[in-house]
């Protein structure tokens, strides 16, 4: 009876809240705390996640990935066709769209936005540094304005992934007037067509964008987004807890535990298509023997690593790519944590225990490696338990990437995010003999296994998915046996936010438009 009364009382008290929750009112300011400032909001020039995260709220492409899959759907283009020879892509553009500065969106705008990237003679070409061409418009040789609302892109060779490239953040359409006016400063004053328009940028502090009232599609539900730079993870956590921000990005795993425990806050998780690994330089004579590499795998306790440093926000890895990607070989039996066995393997391989291995630790944290230095310290201790001495080596990120791609390390930590969710991206791109050529090797294990490489190449030529799967399963077995990397973990990406927000999206790559997000008053 007593319980019933309490329940009743609670219900009565909460009823008004329920009413509010039922129909979240529109408007409000969404404050989004993140680890760093953006660099350039012209996404054709953006190289960092913080720029892209902000830019995609304001700029739009011809086409875009669906909200939660990798299917391409129209955005500023209404439809498209590919010529029979596969060389010409024709896009019909949406009519009646205006840029934030009031300029009309049309074929000319698409032409200027694209031609500035690939045509050295275009007047806007010198205003920017056009990065990652291979992922964007690199294959396009010519841009034709067919009429005001029709554009054709011509490639030299048939290039099927072009549509996916256009759906990435790298090919935004900007107002030609603004590009002419701001010249090389367009990245500081982006003018696009998106649901939010740029308002103000205080460097190292905040970027403010307003709801675009003239948006061609569904208008954004919040009036304003403030992206607030809060470099320190603990400060972001505190801002989230106090309600000062609605969303806090890139919290460390320990903080996420606190967010989960807080009933005002919530965490959504999404398995990411990434891998964090420890690459073993197979070019070094003392690491050439596969038994040595297997020994290293046996020495590392991935479960504990994930339980402690990742705070459970990952699954242990045994293959080069995560189970969410097709052809994942689940039949592989992971190397168990066994220091004694590791030591024996080292001894069997005649490993010189007086040698101190260089263990290179990444200087930056990534979703696939949230605490690289602590991970390195732990690995160092695990190796020591197996009798192997190692020294942690750190340097700046640029040098790290350059030197690891030259094969100067013994062991190095790196990771990969598989953007297009294809095994080829991981296996051929990171482990084939073709990519093991220094300098500039993406295969930082410098592992040159002819059989493995053949399997990858064969798979590239094969269009039948089951056949390809077979090839990849086999390739993973070779990888497992040879163990050029010790794959460590596939991390989970998370978004922590206040429960007063609704419909917060999370793609595996973490990039979403916040158009549909609403906030309780």
């Amino acid at each position: 009876m007593r319980k019933f009364i309490i329940l009743l009382a609670v219900t009565v008290c909460l009823a008004p809240l329920a009413v509010l929750a039922a129909g979240p009112s529109q408007g409000g300011t969404l404050i989004w705390g993140r680890g760093g400032d953006s660099v350039s909001l012209d996404l054709a020039q953006a190289t960092d996640g913080e720029s892209i995260k902000a830019g995609v709220q304001m700029l739009e492409n011809l086409v875009i990935f669906e909200k939660d899959s990798m299917n391409v759907v129209p955005q500023l283009a209404e439809s498209w066709t590919v010529s029979d020879d596969g060389l010409t892509w024709t896009f019909k553009l949406r009519k009646g769209v205006r840029f934030h500065d009031g300029e009309p969106f049309n074929a000319k705008a698409v032409y200027d936005s694209f031609a500035r990237v690939i045509d050295p003679n275009h007047p806007f070409h010198s205003y920017g540094k056009w990065v990652y061409l291979s992922l964007s418009l690199g294959p396009v040789k010519q841009i034709k304005v067919v009429d005001d609302y029709t554009v054709a892109l011509v490639t030299e060779k048939p290039y099927a992934p072009l549509l996916n490239n256009l759906a990435l953040w790298l090919c935004p359409i900007l107002s030609p007037k603004a590009m002419a006016e701001y010249k090389d400063q367009i990245g500081q004053h982006p003018v696009g067509t998106g649901p939010f328009k740029f308002s103000k940028w205080v460097k190292d502090d905040r970027i403010i964008m307003e709801c675009n009232p003239d948006y061609w599609g569904d208008k954004a539900k919040v009036d304003q987004i403030i992206l607030k730079s809060i470099p320190e993870s603990s400060a972001r956590l505190m801002a989230l807890q106090s309600g000062a921000v609605d969303i806090a990005d890139d919290l460390d795993p320990d903080s996420i535990r606190l967010v989960e425990a807080n009933d005002q806050l919530t965490v959504i998780k999404q398995p990411s298509v990434n891998v964090g690994y420890l690459a073993i330089n197979t070019d070094k004579p003392w690491l050439k023997d596969a038994r040595v590499r297997q020994a290293i795998a046996h020495a590392i306790d991935k479960e504990t690593l994930i339980a402690s440093i990742f705070q459970g926000m990952a699954i242990p890895a045994k293959n080069p790519f995560p189970p969410s990607i097709w052809s994942y070989n689940d039949g592989i039996k992971p190397y168990a944590y066994d220091p004694a066995k590791a030591k024996k393997l080292f001894e069997d391989a005649g490993f010189d225990f007086s040698r101190e291995l260089e263990l290179w630790a990444m200087p930056v944290s990534r979703a696939y490696m949230p605490e690289p230095v602590k991970t390195a310290e732990l690995i160092q201790a695990y190796l020591a338990a197996a009798g192997v001495k190692s020294k942690i080596v750190r340097m700046d990120w640029g040098t790290y990437l350059k030197k690891t791609s030259n094969g100067e390390h013994d062991l190095c930590m790196l990771g990969w995010l598989g953007g297009n969710a294809d095994p080829d991206n991981f296996l051929y791109g990171l482990l084939s003999a073709d990519t093991a050529k220094t300098p500039g090797a993406a295969n930082v294990a410098l592992w040159k296994n002819a059989e493995f490489t053949d399997l990858c190449l064969q798979a590239q030529r094969t269009f039948d998915k089951t056949e390809r799967t077979k090839l990849y399963l086999k390739a993973q077995e070779i990888f497992h046996q040879e163990q050029p990397w010790v794959p460590l973990a596939h991390s989970t990406i998370v978004r922590c936010y206040n429960k007063r927000l609704h419909d917060v999206p999370l793609r595996p790559n973490g990039l979403n438009s916040f158009q549909m997000v609403s906030k309780d008053k």
């Binding site: 660099v39 190289t47 460097k203 400060a235 700046d396 350059k402 990969w416």
Partner: protein, 336 residues
């Protein structure tokens, strides 16, 4: 002091800045790490890297790069940031104001408290107050301020959350920027709430940054005052029947100020250095943090610009200290 002297000092300043620019330019190029590689990260391929290097002009010879840099510099152009492609001067300016606001607040606190504590200690030497104040001053000069900042955050923002732990204003609160100093802007805009909030946000970082200068000033003020209080002219002032306050503030302190001003001037350099740490801890969007970030990002133009600004500020401060000397001590006026 003749204008010629100032002109000479300014000329020296230009010479030092030139030297600094060469040194910084060369040192930056000696730092391992390729800006292009840093910008493009782990997903770039060698061709994209090479193209970016060309675009950034990194494939030119060093003398040529410096020549171009110097030519732009002489036209007042500090160059564009490699990372953001924006003019470095603009990037620096906004952050400089943030650093200035923090430094001025810290300067204010350290001078007020430091001089006050030093004077009281000197007036009552070997009293409990004196020993207490001087012990705290000694702890102050020994303080790792990055630790102090963290502990202040823990105490006043985490344990007893009475003060904000970072930033300059609460999120969502805006003040029209006129001077770039938020407190001044809030005052100009007549927004008492913003003024109050800006002050609250400023308090912990300013206190952190003020700690060492405050302690140094207290120590120097005490010893200078002790010396001055033994001077004959202080006795003369007392013999005139002046009140103790007039004797100490008008006759003693004014003379004790000379060494204090020297130290304050040196301390401003200390403040600028301390700003690097304080801004990092309190997420203060200032120049100190910017220069470290730029250095880590191998943003050559930005680092060069910042260091030039720092060096120029130090030199201007030194000049200002010399000028203040003249105001304070009439004896120098004739000698110069």
């Amino acid at each position: 002091m003749p204008l010629g002297y100032i002109a000479k000092r300014l000329l020296q300043l230009v010479a030092i800045l030139f030297g600094v620019s060469v040194v910084v330019f060369l040192m930056l190029r000696m730092i391992p790490g390729d800006p292009a590689q840093l910008l493009l990260g782990e997903f770039a391929n060698p061709e994209e890297l090479a193209r970016l290097r060309t675009q950034l002009g990194l494939d030119r010879s060093l003398p040529l790069q410096y020549g171009i840099y110097l030519q732009n510099l002489l036209q007042g152009d500090l160059g564009n940031s490699i990372r953001t492609n924006t003019p470095v001067a603009a990037e620096i300016w906004g952050r400089l104001l943030a650093t200035l606001e923090l430094s001025l607040a810290a300067m204010f606190i350290s001078t007020l408290v430091g001089v006050g504590a030093g004077v009281v200690s000197a007036v009552r030497p070997h009293s409990a107050w004196d020993y207490g104040a001087m012990f705290f001053a000694l702890v102050g000069v020994s303080m790792p301020i990055f630790w102090l900042g963290l502990m202040l955050i823990y105490l006043f923002a985490v344990k007893y959350p009475v003060l904000p732990m970072m930033g300059r204003l609460p999120m969502g609160l805006e003040v029209p920027a006129v001077t770039g100093l938020v407190m001044v802007d809030a005052l100009l805009a007549g927004q008492p709430v913003a003024l109050w909030e800006a002050g609250r946000h400023l308090l912990l970082p300013a206190l952190t940054l003020a700690t060492i200068p405050m302690a140094v000033v207290a120590r120097i003020t005490r010893s200078a005052m002790l010396e001055v209080l033994n001077k004959d002219y202080v006795r003369t002032a007392r013999a005139k029947g002046l009140s103790e306050a007039a004797v100490i503030l008008r006759h003693a302190l004014r003379n004790a100020f000379l060494p204090v001003v020297t130290v304050l001037g040196l301390n401003l350099g200390l403040l600028l250095g301390g700003a690097v740490l304080t801004e990092t801890i309190f997420s203060w969007p200032g120049l100190g943090r910017y220069v470290v970030d730029s250095l880590m990002g191998r943003d050559y133009a930005a680092v060069q610009g910042c260091i030039l600004v720092f060096a120029a500020m130090m030199a201007v401060i030194n000049l200002a200290v010399d000028l203040i000397y003249v105001l304070l001590d009439p004896r120098i006026r004739v000698n110069e």
